[in-house]
Symmetry: C2
Subunit: 617 residues, 2 copies
């Protein structure tokens, strides 16, 4: 299946490597070169012999050369079926000659389109007509002809010529033909998209002809890197691709991120950017399975919190805003944050890296890293810690596409950023309810931005600029409140004097201490479990009784709660009232809004209607 | 901007309406018609005057007509810039004539490709070369020329000709040009995809040249219908699209599904198909927010279940397999199933429709409906109940693409179907643990298929062929067990004699009874809430005490649990042991597998390693 190359047609706008390639073609393999315009000149200037396409076709120069290659002698030379008796006879009668290979690039439509101040006419002028025709003819007849469409292919071509003494194999021709049709599809997708955008501008004011113009919507992806597998090991192949003409949001600077790591990174990073934008404070998030286990902004720790989170005086004194934010994010639910994916809104400094070093974590995304921080993090997990840098000035595409079971879901991305402006519509009675402080507004914002990036249904509780309980992925709203509420109780009880005083043996691991405290608070041991738990301590601790817990929980106040959609019944408020909640942020819009507001008034909880639903799927 | 049409080039494979159109073109507007082959013959047979393209170009017939239209006189006629002095002069010198409109379709590559037993050569032969070239030339020069690519456009064209007395407007030409580039992109995407698939077959055994062949990956979508909005009301526009050459999995036969409804439908329907495939029983699922609130196969109800689910003797006697499956699915967690989206594996019959009629539900997907059932369901929700029919013989695409924050995630879909074969590797000690019955295997399958379609992390509990507790979307595994475990306790306690005997007043609504029972079981009322709760009853019921609950829960046994990934610690097993769990199915693969197995042996729980992880995002 090796076809020797005797005649080659060349027309390239990207002239990288073309002289070197053609020199080999002519000098080593005695291949005849056909070309036009700038390419012909450049090759001749390098001492090569080139036949002009117009001499080859015998066609007159006309219409500024627009139709030079749209000629039967070119396309006959490419498309004639080799070995077909009638075709061979026609080639002789019509004085046509076989062309065995085409090397070309297309006019740079995409680059033209992106030039500042470019006009519609200039873009249209840059639509290549002759190039795609030659490319498609050559690719169609790849059983006999070779289509080369990119300088990236030259070295492969040269190897092939060398190993076949001047020919190409069917395998390579087929592969190059596949590339050619991809390129053609990409090129016309880009043109079609451009027309779409122009029609949208034309039609903005008038009745849209959108339905007519949207015969198809092409999305063209460029493979960026392979993944080991998709969501599960048996889901292979899997990869990450970029949209044509759009960079990826992150660069991988260490480790090999997996599918879920990158989903976490995408959500976590958007979350911290929005927290920063809304509060002006350094922000951090700790993700697990595409929902936050915790998230926080840089608010000073209380003394009790320092004890509960095992922050030494020395560490406390050295905390920077970004390390403080991550420390808080990580301590909302340190059991869940085990093996997290982290995101921070600011440059990762040494303090943050040193704190992360101690924790079991899979990776981080940040706008950047100090040299010291990078050195520390690159050593984590035996060098496998995933480090992503966010692309500066990145803007994500407005429309998102997602395929599920052969249906494609298209929607505008959820680009609303919750700020204090959304916290202005207080519907409860100010004489009965908690006063709206700046801290309350900050905490409602924190909880709202967090639920925006939590799988729905979701409800989040926050205090001190920190998520203290996330109720994610539930099938009813009150289940979210119950679920998050239990996490809030555990978070708060971690500050109980009896928990702080647990007499751990020396050498008990950090994560084991974290888990043992939680089990102490929960208290529902099996016999077997209790025996093993006892082993962590120098003395077996006395249980934390139900009444001790209840007594301590009564001191909890000032917590804010945000719900990703309205409350359908007052049961969620009834439940929240038992958990120290003083503030509620929710979109509103239920027929029950009046009852919900009344429930808040009964319990002295201030409630704000944001008007923005935040389901996330 | 109106351009009169004087000469038109026609080449169509789909000849729908072409004679009628051309008759008007020639008789009403005196337009000269150029054509070739079958199109020319058909037009002549209808009495029209047609000039052959070869007469127009003066080119000889050769190479089986492959290069007939790839001629300067055709492309010059299309591309010449009208009003350009030099071009006008060239047109005269070269004896070229302007062509103002092209009407064409492309060779049916897609249809060819899908023909049974079609060869690679036959497909390649059907790649159109001349057609796309003419189409692109005409579209590029749309400021002067009109490109018509589909019979769908004929009526618009005729209206335009009528209103301009034989011309077209720039707006229409631009819109048609946009369509043409879309079509070209779609056509070459299809060819490129076909080459890709052929290369994949070629390379299956050898080292892949995949990276080379994947210069770009085009996905071409066809808009199917608009959605009111995406996941949230502010996410507009939003729509559902199909993949080129692939039907949608569902047809909407009533109502207007939203974004999340369709996500639910896609997941729920796959779930019930797999349950049916694995167990041979009619199956049903009740979804909320892209996770199951419940799911079940058709297993007979116990007497106590009939009481707990409010199934009368009459209803019980009339239950069909599919109505029984849905009744079970809906009763796993009837509080969560409020406003669900349902899926069933079999034709929806009248019994199922009558049961659904009583429940608050958003929609259903099924392989079909009896006439009676459809009539009942179409009246539900004031006519707005969403009814979807699954496409018969539907096969979803193997690769899935998903865009998040400008990254595109590609993976093979999770096409594994869990069956009894996956439940064969029992790792626990059979002398210490519960015997593996057929019912146990069935329940492990039910739980496993359910967690496959539950947002991760997830753990599911099942009994009697029914999910009885779903722990969805959690950030740690033991949280899934705790969460699902609480649901299991509530499910089981709904069968407690004191719950069954609750003295509801007449007229209390079904959903209020459901919710009131759950609150009775939970028992943690606020003062305000308790007063309102009391109002449901003729006499205020005595509380269900903690010890009564514990006593009753001790009778719970034989429950199966499935986890979507391995247990990292034995805490999940410790916890499950308190909930009547006798069987565990999980993928295995943790360094702690030995400890987990030991924990199961301690508690007498039989454990099976499926080897298949089932994360779902």
């Amino acid at each position: 299946d090796i076809v020797p190359i005797k005649r080659c047609l060349i027309s390239v706008s990207d002239k990288t490597g073309i002289v070197e390639l053609c020199t080999v073609l002519q000098n080593n393999y005695n291949i005849e070169l056909l070309s036009t315009g700038g390419t012909a000149k450049k090759l001749r200037d390098s001492g090569l012999t080139v036949i002009d396409v117009s001499d080859f076709t015998g066609g007159a120069e006309c219409l500024d050369g627009r139709v030079k290659t749209l000629h039967p002698k070119i396309h006959g030379g490419l498309l004639a079926v080799r070995g077909n008796e009638a075709h061979s006879q026609d080639m002789i009668t019509q004085e046509m000659k076989y062309i065995d290979m085409t090397i070309l690039n297309l006019y740079p439509f995409e680059e033209t389109m992106k030039r500042p101040n470019v006009t519609f006419e200039q873009c249209i002028e840059n639509i290549d007509i002759g190039g795609p025709s030659m490319m498609r003819s050559t690719a169609k007849n790849h059983v006999s002809t070779t289509i080369v469409t990119s300088p990236d292919q030259y070295s492969m071509l040269l190897n092939e010529l060398a190993s076949t003494n001047g020919g190409t194999t069917l395998k390579t021709r087929k592969c190059f033909a596949s590339n050619a049709f991809c390129l053609s599809a990409k090129y016309d997708s880009m043109i079609a998209s451009y027309f779409e955008s122009q029609l949208a501008i034309d039609n903005a004011a008038e009745e849209a002809t959108a339905s007519l113009s949207q015969v198809v919507i092409p999305r063209v992806y460029k493979p960026e890197f392979e993944l080991k597998y998709g969501v599960n090991p048996h889901q292979k192949p899997a990869s990450i691709l970029s949209l044509q003409g759009q960079s990826l949001p992150f660069t991988v600077i260490n480790g090999k991120p997996g599918y879920t790591n990158l989903l976490d990174a995408a959500n976590a990073y958007q979350l911290v950017l929005e927290l920063k934008q809304a509060t002006g404070l350094a922000s951090a998030a700790s993700f697990k399975h595409v929902s936050p286990a915790g998230a926080a902004v840089a608010v000073e720790l209380t003394d009790i919190e320092c004890q509960a989170y095992e922050v030494t005086e020395e560490t406390r004194a050295s905390l920077t805003p970004v390390s403080l934010a991550y420390l808080r994010a990580r301590n909302a639910d340190p059991m869940c944050s085990f093996g997290d994916f982290s995101a921070v809104s600011d440059i990762v400094d040494e303090q943050t890296a040193l704190y992360l070093k101690k924790e079991v974590s899979d990776g981080i995304v940040a706008p950047g890293y100090t040299e010291d921080a990078l050195e520390i993090l690159k050593k984590k997990k035996g060098g496998k810690f995933i480090i992503l840098t966010a692309t500066p000035g990145y803007t994500p595409p407005v429309q998102e596409y997602r395929e599920v079971y052969g249906m494609t879901f298209q929607q505008k991305r959820n680009d609303v950023v919750l700020t204090s402006k959304h916290m202005e519509t207080i519907v409860t009675d100010s004489t009965k309810c908690a006063p709206i402080t700046d801290a309350a507004i900050r905490d409602m914002i924190v909880a709202s931005i967090c639920v925006k990036y939590t799988q729905s249904n979701s409800v989040g509780f926050s205090k001190n600029g920190m998520m203290v309980g996330v109720g994610a992925g539930q099938q009813s709203r009150v289940d979210c409140v119950k679920l998050a509420g239990r996490k809030v109780q555990t978070w708060y009880l971690r500050q109980h004097p009896k928990v702080l005083a647990l007499p751990f043996k020396e050498g008990v691991k950090r994560q084991d201490r974290v888990n043992a405290r939680v089990r102490y608070i929960e208290g529902d041991f099996t016999v077997e479990e209790k025996l093993r738990w006892n082993e962590f301590f120098t003395d077996v601790p006395a249980p934390l009784t139900q009444s001790e817990k209840e007594e301590f929980l009564k001191q909890s106040t000032g917590i804010a709660i945000s719900s990703d959609a309205f409350f359908p019944f007052r049961d969620s408020i009834d439940h929240a009232s038992k958990l120290g909640v003083s503030y509620v942020a929710q979109p509103g819009g239920s027929v029950q809004d009046g009852n919900i507001t009344e429930a808040c008034n009964e319990y002295g909880i201030a409630m704000c209607m944001t008007g923005v639903r935040l389901f996330h799927h």
